[in-house]
């Protein structure tokens, strides 16, 4: 199903593929030799001719299609793919009839005929299914006869199968079909052509830079191709269809983790945004103000919005990931407020593992930025961690800039230092945005700045706009279900709840799921997303699931809910490709480490050092090294004390990443390359 992959993987995840090769910093990749470039990089100018050829023939089809379905009464219909029913001004009753007709038609025809054509003919025939089908098929036949020149473009092998399937359905379900023998062939031709055309145009729309070296799987498709792609999504892949049905109209969900050194003002910044956006009632805020004043920590009043436990408030630090949500113009943003304290990095990893993008908060106060950024500060470790956890879009909020009187110098100094570091960490310059702001005064958070000192030199977006501009990654909804559990608690009513993030696939109410690694079957009794109950949840969602059929004792944090058929691998030993960070002592065989995998923390041993690799090229430098020093890249075998669920990185990215920590310091990040059966 090469075509599906084309569609599913468009735009976003391809960037991941390439950059996530650890050890490839941005600099590394930019100095390729010309021959390499030729081999791996797509050059738009080189292939111009080929593409123009494509475009030509594509136009051909397009025109024909337009001729065929042109109807003055419904202008604009023909260019649309998705069923824009609203624009048709139909009554509810008619709409329902139209939908049922469409469903029938699709059953018979598959996706070979665009929806708009279907709608048109259904309306023309006053919702008479048989007549409409007749018309469509007849039209097609005549059209196909007109186009013998299409024949040589041979369909792909997979297409044959599809075509054959269609043949069966056509003959069995619709006896009115006039000519069945010509049908599948002609269809196949059209399909085969579509594949190549979408391929060509999608790769042409890419810049050579973000092209994946492995395969030119389509990224952002051209607008006029979009039509076809969405259609495929709807009618072919069931989960995809469900996803678009459920979520098509809603705003995209974006999960953002807020990271930074302790006392950088993460919680305060977020609290302030929530307050300014009106997510916190005036009364609550007043209460917080009074109470915080009482214990002499008035500056913490906004932080209290997110720090809820008494412990956190008394100590004035975040200890566990706090969460809240707000909406921007185009997105529904769920923030995960990570603790900055070094002791709570395990919690921070849990939070970051669920996030799509990150917001790094740095304290601009003289001395504070330095202490957070220099060795031992969390700014570095957090940034490295989120990068290793797969976050590649980052906003940097240069906080507390009011204390330096909005000095541009200070802002530039911090920006310069961070830019160099973040580049080294593997963030692309284009994916990192710096915003000056102040959490306590609320400057430049949701509104453009009003401070004259800041206005003098800053005219960029405010923080909210930056968040709004993040790209939402593609959700792998059609893969088998994987959901990592990060919380287990007793809910109201029967059963108990687990909360976590769906990494892959969809979860419906009533589904049977397998709780791994214990491999117990459970049934999903209820689902709720952000405290709103729902019937279905998709990849990328944070859900709490009410389970029945298993005991609460047998489920713990770090377990995976998996599809019962396509199960998640359970193992105690796996091979990983490590990138070693700055370590005090080298890693040897038998090194005991704590392994962080999603929200799971487990003690593990590095049992074998297999190979030391070149940091930039990935070539083998030394087999079976004695030890791994600073900033090395290596292939190792890791053995875990208890069985855990991991996936190969190439299969499921989120479940293929591990962090290794020793005595409170992150020493390495790894990608699972192989899983041994134990």
């Amino acid at each position: 199903m090469a075509r599906h992959r084309n569609v599913r993987n468009r735009s976003y995840s391809d960037d991941y593929d390439y950059d996530d090769l650890y050890g490839h910093s941005v600099e590394d990749e930019s100095c390729l030799s010309p021959s390499d470039t030729e081999q791996w990089m797509y050059d738009r100018s080189r292939n111009q001719q080929a593409i123009s050829a494509f475009l030509d023939s594509q136009n051909d089809i397009q025109e024909e299609a337009e001729d065929e379905v042109y109807d003055a009464s419904h202008p604009g219909l023909e260019r649309r793919d998705s069923v824009g029913l609203r624009s048709l001004n139909l009554s509810e009753d008619e709409e329902a009839r139209l939908m049922s007709c469409l469903d029938e038609l699709r059953n018979v025809l598959g996706d070979s005929v665009p929806d708009n054509v279907l709608i048109q003919s259904v309306i023309n025939h006053k919702f008479d299914f048989n007549k409409a089908l007749d018309e469509i098929l007849n039209n097609k036949q005549s059209k196909d006869c007109d186009r013998p020149k299409e024949e040589p473009v041979k369909p792909l092998p997979t297409v044959h199968i599809e075509a054959a399937k269609d043949l069966v359905s056509t003959t069995s379900k619709a006896p009115i079909v006039i000519s069945t023998n010509l049908e599948p062939k002609a269809k196949g031709v059209v399909k085969g052509f579509k594949v190549s055309s979408s391929d060509g145009s999608s790769s042409s729309s890419q810049t050579p830079r973000d092209q994946s070296p492995i395969a030119e799987r389509g990224s952002t498709p051209k607008p006029d191709d979009d039509t076809r792609i969405v259609k495929v999504k709807e009618s072919k892949v069931d989960p995809k269809k469900q996803y678009t049905d459920e979520r098509g109209s809603e705003k995209d969900h974006l999960y953002i983790v807020v990271i930074g050194h302790v006392d950088a003002g993460k919680s305060t910044l977020m609290g302030r945004i929530l307050c300014d956006l009106g997510e916190v009632s005036q009364r609550t805020l007043h209460k917080y103000e009074q109470e915080s004043k009482k214990i002499g920590k008035q500056s913490f009043m906004y932080a209290w919005v997110l720090d809820e436990t008494g412990e956190e408030r008394v100590r004035g630090i975040t200890m566990d990931v706090g969460r809240a949500q707000f909406e921007t113009k185009t997105k529904k943003v769920i923030i995960l407020d990570a603790p900055g304290h070094a002791d709570f990095i395990p919690n921070m990893i849990t939070g970051a593992g669920q996030a799509d993008v990150a917001l790094l908060v740095v304290d601009a106060t003289t001395g504070e930025f330095e202490s957070g950024f220099e060795l031992g500060g969390q700014t570095r470790e957090h940034a490295l961690l989120v990068r290793s956890l797969g976050v590649n879009q980052l906003a940097v909020a240069v906080n507390k800039l009011d204390t330096t009187n909005w000095s541009q110098e200070r802002f530039n100094e911090i920006t310069k230092k961070l830019k160099a570091f973040l580049k080294q960490a593997g963030f692309k310059d284009s994916d990192v945005t710096f915003v000056p702001c102040s959490g306590l005064t609320g400057e430049n958070l949701i509104k453009p700045p009003s401070e004259s000192e800041l206005l003098k030199w800053y005219n960029g977006p405010c923080l909210l706009d930056v968040i709004d501009n993040f790209n939402v990654p593609e959700r792998p909804v059609s893969k088998p279900l994987r959901m990592s559990i990060n919380d287990v608690f007793k809910g109201t009513g029967s059963g108990f709840c687990v909360a976590g993030r769906i990494e892959n696939g969809i979860l419906n109410k009533g589904d049977k799921v397998l709780v791994c690694p214990t491999k117990e079957m459970a049934e999903v009794r209820g689902l709720s997303i952000n405290d709103m109950s729902s019937n279905v949840a998709f990849a990328g969602d944070q859900v709490s699931v009410t389970l029945s059929g298993v005991d609460i004792q047998n489920v713990s944090v770090g377990y995976i809910l998996s599809d019962p058929v396509q199960q998640v691998p359970v193992t105690t030993r796996f091979e990983a490709r490590l990138v070693v960070f700055n370590v005090k002592v080298p890693i040897t065989k038998g090194f005991p480490v704590l392994i962080h995998h999603q929200s799971l923390v487990e003690s593990a041993n590095i049992v074998k050092l297999k190979a030391l690799l070149n940091k930039s090229t990935g070539e083998l430098v030394k087999k079976k090294p004695r030890c791994l020093g600073n900033n090395s890249v290596a292939v190792v075998d890791i053995e875990v004390c208890r069985p855990i669920c991991v996936e190969r990185y190439k299969d499921v990215k989120e479940l293929g990443r591990v962090m290794l920590r020793v005595s409170g310091v992150t020493i390495a990040a790894g990608l699972v390359t192989d899983i041994y059966n134990t």
Binding site: T309, F489, A499, S556, K584, F591, R626
Partner: protein, 389 residues
């Protein structure tokens, strides 16, 4: 352990009689006794007697037996040593060659006969009989939802109890569930301490955790002690020592044992010094990789050059079944000593020893760099890997 009698010939064969006094001595005995040794100890055996009329009666008799050891079985948690073998001295109840399993018991003498008492074995006897070395420390390493209650003796770290609980996270409006779970967890840890820590023996109780868990727990425990009027806890309040650890897993004990506050309290335990030594090995590996080596091949080569300053070797290697292999290791140890090097035998029951075991069980810090060893890596390491896997 009490040494009662020692009779060793010039050629190294001979016998030693010992009386184990505490459970730790069983560990020493386990390390002393090898397959093929003869052990004499008092034991209980069920004996069947047949009368002249043909009716048989069976009764249990206490008798002293000498067996040739065939299998050694040691339960680390209960500190029980079982020796199985054939009887080699006939007596009225047991025939020659009959199998018997000896359970070594505390405060009962046993005689151990060896064909060869090597230096390592003799050293072990000395160490076991040294009365100065007993300072027991209890340590609780914990994090939210996970705790290990351990007992650290000079040559062993015993995990007495592991508490693993899922604590619900804090979530909007549900913070009480988190706090309830936390209290339940603290209560379990406290019960564990009361059950497993003998305050009369233990010198101090270390509570180690990341963040504020240790403080919260200590506070909770003392509150509960006052509430339930638990004299034991209140009286021993001064024995508790709160230190920082990075996690609640067992190997973070290593960090705990490196804390200066802990070192002053337990300076004479072997555990702390072993941790320190292993740490210095790793530092050397980082700074001067040509002066730190591990794996038998490398270490042997370094020894040939008389380069070894400190040899770290796990006692697991001396317990190996293969007599020849043991001999090799003993020669290595002897020759390092001869050359003026320091030999430390790590207890594989400590965290550091566990790590050394993983690291092929043998490692050395050299006096001078030997980069040529490093270069010959490729072929050597394959051997090292194969014999350790």
């Amino acid at each position: 352990m009490k040494l009662v009698h020692k009779n060793i010939e010039k050629d190294g064969c001979g016998s030693i009689s010992l009386i184990p006094e505490e459970s730790e001595d069983m560990w020493h005995a386990y390390n002393l006794i090898a397959e093929g040794d003869a052990v004499t100890a008092s034991t209980v055996r069920k004996v069947q007697t047949e009368s002249s009329t043909g009716s048989s009666t069976s009764n249990r008799v206490r008798t002293t037996l000498t067996i040739r050891v065939e299998t050694i079985d040691f339960d680390t948690q209960a500190c029980v040593l079982r020796l199985k073998g054939r009887n080699i001295v006939e007596n009225q109840y047991v025939k020659m060659g009959a199998y018997h399993t000896l359970d070594l018991e505390l405060n009962r003498k046993f005689i151990l006969q060896k064909i060869l008492w090597d230096s390592v074995a003799l050293e072990r006897v000395d160490m076991a009989c040294d009365p100065a070395q007993n300072a027991d420390v209890a340590a609780v390493v914990m994090q939210e939802g996970l705790a290990h209650i351990c007992l650290i003796t000079p040559s062993m770290t015993l995990v007495r109890s592991k508490i693993d609980m899922t604590i619900p996270r804090k979530r909007k409006g549900f913070t009480q569930q988190h706090e309830k779970g936390l209290n339940k967890f603290y209560d379990a840890v406290m019960q564990g301490i009361l059950r497993h820590v003998e305050f009369s023996v233990v010198k101090c109780v270390i509570i180690a955790s990341p963040g504020f868990v240790k403080d919260q727990f200590f506070e909770y425990m003392m509150q509960q002690a006052v509430k339930t009027d638990n004299k034991l806890l209140i009286d021993n309040k001064s024995k508790f020592l709160l230190v920082k650890a990075s996690s609640g897993f067992k190997h973070s004990l290593k960090e705990v044992l490196q804390e200066p506050a802990v070192i002053t309290k337990i300076s004479d335990t072997k555990a702390a010094s072993e941790v320190k030594l292993l740490e210095s090995f790793y530092t050397m590996l980082q700074l001067e990789p040509a002066k730190a080596f591990y794996g038998k091949k490398h270490v042997e080569k370094a020894n040939e050059a008389m380069a070894i300053e400190i040899l770290m070797i796990s006692d697991k290697l001396f317990r190996c079944q293969d007599v020849l292999k043991r001999k090799e290791y003993v020669t290595l140890v002897d020759s390092v000593r001869e050359n003026g090097g320091d030999v430390r035998i790590f207890s594989s029951m400590h965290v550091s020893g566990e790590q050394l075991d993983q690291l092929t069980g043998i490692a050395a810090i050299l006096r001078f760099p030997m980069p040529e060893l490093e270069d010959s890596d490729a072929e050597d390491n394959s051997d090292v890997d194969s014999d350790s896997d």
